[in-house]
Amino acid sequence: MTPFTKYLKLSTIAAAGLTLCVHGAEVPQRIDIKQLSKTVEDVVVPLPNEIFGALNKLGTVNWKEHVRNDKGTNFTERPRIALLLGTVIADGFIAVQAEDAPTVKEIGQRVLALAKGIGVGNSITPHAKAIIEAADKRNWDSVRQELDRTQNSVQQAMNEVHDEKLSQLVSLGGWLRGTEVLTSVVSKHFSADGAELLHQPDLLSYFQTRLQAMPEFNLPILREIGDALVQVKPLIDVGNARIPPKSVKKINDITTRLGSGIVTRD
């Protein structure tokens, strides 16, 4: 995204946000959230490792069992490449959690190939190189930072050529893969705190809204994801109640099925 395009996008978010009156320097202890817009016009979608970091603090996770080496299908449809790119970047974060340098390096190459396939390879080349170099040095913080930069650069490049919808599919792919792994980990070692990490109803609504605005991408996988989000919504939008093990398992079944659909041809 060019800075100006980004500015316009951000201004739109700002315009959709709330203009409040200044009440002085004292910080109000409470605000009336009903006055705030209920619409999530745009969000900074959390990185998978933001969730993985919280998950790690709940206990030891065997990240190696979640590392995926499958290179996936070579798609020609740009929306499919975008979805896959998001999941591959998420796989990069998983490989970093597992401190699996060879897989991280493969993912660096894969990300570059997919970015080229979607026409934004140039902006990714330096990041792919940095990921590989940092993985060689086992500098995991740098790899995490470069994966974030990679996703940001891909999305900026897409937005620059007015491919915002593809950019949103990158985020969606990453979110689905992150949710698949989160639910897999929590299903195996259930904890209420782990399940609570799924409490992301506004984010899910955001993705639903975005998908509904992509009728031109007439692909079975996108329809399948749209239907799946409808199924997942009531399972995570539970207010102050706890998300039970049964729901976590069901979300894992759904996201695993979608994950498989994203990497394989229809």
Partner: protein
């Protein structure tokens, strides 16, 4: 000058004006972002990973904006707000989904920088309220970045 040349000249002038305007506006938001990142810098040494993505826009003096952000219990977050308008006074505060102030007491405001610290008690949506309290400019560009560990 013939009519075609005049149209071409006017078109070119308009294009130059649009490009110049875009550069000016974009530079301001980019500058605001670089100040927000400057505020974040010391925290990187403390293990915070600062996200590449950010929010931004412009506000009049005394205006606030709210943005919504998904936070995860178990993580610790800092939000850093910056503007390029050095004489502006800005602030950032964080509320939970019930509208209750959710931040730690060590947030700070230093002229055209401000920061808020939150250790979420629950996973869910939070509201980040950005405020341009005072500014000599009619519109003040702002940018908000965040980091977590």
């Amino acid at each position: 000058m013939n009519a075609s040349a005049k149209i071409l000249l006017r078109g070119s002038s308009l294009l130059v004006l649009i490009v110049a305007l875009q550069s000016t506006v974009a530079a301001s938001v980019d500058d605001a972002q670089s100040f927000a990142l400057q505020a974040a810098e010391p925290y990187v040494k403390e293990g915070f990973q600062v996200r590449e993505d950010y929010w931004g826009g412009d506000l009049g003096s005394g205006e606030k904006k709210a943005v919504r952000q998904q936070l995860f219990k178990g993580n610790e977050y800092w939000f850093w707000l910056g503007t390029e308008v050095e004489r502006a006074k800005i602030s950032v505060h964080i509320y939970d989904s019930d509208g209750k102030l959710a931040e730690e007491p060590d947030g700070w405001e230093k002229g055209h920088f401000a920061a808020a610290h939150v250790i979420p008690k629950t996973t869910g949506s939070y509201f980040v309220i950005v405020n341009v309290e005072e500014s000599p400019e009619e519109r003040t560009h702002w940018a908000l970045v965040y980091g977590f560990r």
